[in-house]
Symmetry: C2
Subunit: 350 residues, 2 copies
Amino acid sequence: MASVTIYDVAAQAGVSIKTVSRVMNAEPNVRAATREKVTAAAEALGYHPNLSARSLAGSKSFVIAAFVDASLTMDHWRSEQGADYLSRIQLGATGPCRELGYHFLLELIDHDTPRVRQEVGNLLAALKPDGVLLTPPSSDDQTVLDLLRKSHTPFVRLGPERDVGGGLRLKMDDRAAAAKMTEHLIGLGHRRIGFVLGDARYGSSRARQQGYVEAMAAHGLEVQADWIQAGDFTFQSGVEAARRLLSLAARPTAIFASNDDMALGCLSAIADAGLSTPEHISVAGFDDSSSARFSRPQLTTMRQPLVEMADYATRALIQGEVAADCDQDAVGHLPPSELILRKSTAPPAP
Amino acid sequence: MASVTIYDVAAQAGVSIKTVSRVMNAEPNVRAATREKVTAAAEALGYHPNLSARSLAGSKSFVIAAFVDASLTMDHWRSEQGADYLSRIQLGATGPCRELGYHFLLELIDHDTPRVRQEVGNLLAALKPDGVLLTPPSSDDQTVLDLLRKSHTPFVRLGPERDVGGGLRLKMDDRAAAAKMTEHLIGLGHRRIGFVLGDARYGSSRARQQGYVEAMAAHGLEVQADWIQAGDFTFQSGVEAARRLLSLAARPTAIFASNDDMALGCLSAIADAGLSTPEHISVAGFDDSSSARFSRPQLTTMRQPLVEMADYATRALIQGEVAADCDQDAVGHLPPSELILRKSTAPPAP
DNA sequence: CTGAAAGCGCTTACAG
DNA sequence: CTGAAAGCGCTTACAG
């Protein structure tokens, strides 16, 4: 059977298609009696508006798209590791979409290839999404940002590295989160706490260091210069930073690494030195990457409110709160990062 | 700037919009020179066809949708467990979609609620997908199957329980897979191999048992009646079946459970009995659920070719190989299930 | 090999 | 409060 259209409903209800349209879109200026007639006709006929027609005629597509990196995502899916980030974004975005009658479309983008421009240009023109969610590294891809602005598509950048480039930027409060973790260690009784810096090119590295320093100061604890060791977010840099920390005359009783990979490196260096975690030395990470749950010991770490971020972003996009030429930060609306207590932190040995 | 349309390209190339349409769709009957003029104009203008217009005017929507259970999926995403299945489906479906210019849409369905009919009816009418991928339990939901047939939407049922209901059915070869696992155990030197049945209401339970029995017979091994113990796919039923097996006069040296949950139950019962796996007794599971990787010891199990299944199904759908009124099985085209060797199986103690 | 006309199923902008 | 007309950007079916 051919599909039921707005004409069928109009005929059945004895009104014009415009009135049916009004009722279906819950627009005002329809008498209650008319509204009921139309609703009944639509129900009886099993009418559901065609999305393509709505999109083509109107100004909304009822589509929210998320751009994610193709090779990264496929690797995660294939290896069944690291897919947590995306799962949480999907969870956060799907909720508001279903609730508000939108469709959520996950699109894989080939960053760093010549075809990004073609690919993204095509997506934007073909889909005309009402809003786009950008995840790293899309959040900082200049080509993508340009295309988004040129097509006047509202967009939200999740965890952007750079503050330029426009869009609504949703980023965790690294400083507050690092302070919270530092306070956890202090609360456990640690006084000599080492810190492993992240890659200096990232703003989040500095923010995390700042949080550590401020929390220490807030508790009247002096930070010695050699407690802060350079790192670059890799496992190996964590190993090396930990070795330097372990060789200090007054060895720290705890190490706070700016991300989980480096924390895992610390764990490894500590074991190599014949010490154990958390008995001899506590280790804390940052990110709650999936490896953090399966290390030995399991890693105490900080977790971003990703579901809430995606939920907030999607709602803002759907409700038209993100102007196409928007250029601002939004952190205040988000819950703080969560301290995930696991086995790698404990009170210092007496 | 307003978007570039087919009219802009036609004007620039000095042809009619019909010719532009032909070129964009790679249709025949266009002179090479004309084709080039159009391509050049499209390129220069940055033209990308609008999906809604294509879908509305034509017979294809360029959308492939997958239906998954809403609460199940959201639980998996939230808990970050059990999401592997969906990740692999997404991986398998996304590949062909991107390759062939389609969009893959994941839609969450509220099975077992009164709103399924409304929800699915709306999805089908609004999206008019060119094909739908059904995952369990959608694969066996009568309401969904009815709606799909009524709307003449081609669909593939992944891992269906029942063979009635139409569609193209893609199911692993449980019998062959169980035989393969049994042969792995025999190859290790086991002769007394216990088997834990799954829920008898599922066809796969019988098929797995059959595979086990046949493999034993093929190697001249007699199966004693009390080696086969009932179970219902739950952890607890695995515990109980293992207890019965352990109390046998001539205890089996290996247990093959029809799914991972029951295998995990066996592991637990074996440990409770003061025995260890695989030293005293080997345990094999089935499914490669995510828990199988994190148990102690890690579980040897069988893994379905899910990525390949989704890839095959999506291609079949896109290439129009699945008629709307299709009603058939497709197993022959799939690679066999994979034996995942981990730590729970080893040669029997001498 | 190419094109003019009609129409897909809606919303927009306007009139009453 | 309701409706007639136009048009969104394409493909279909047909003509030449």
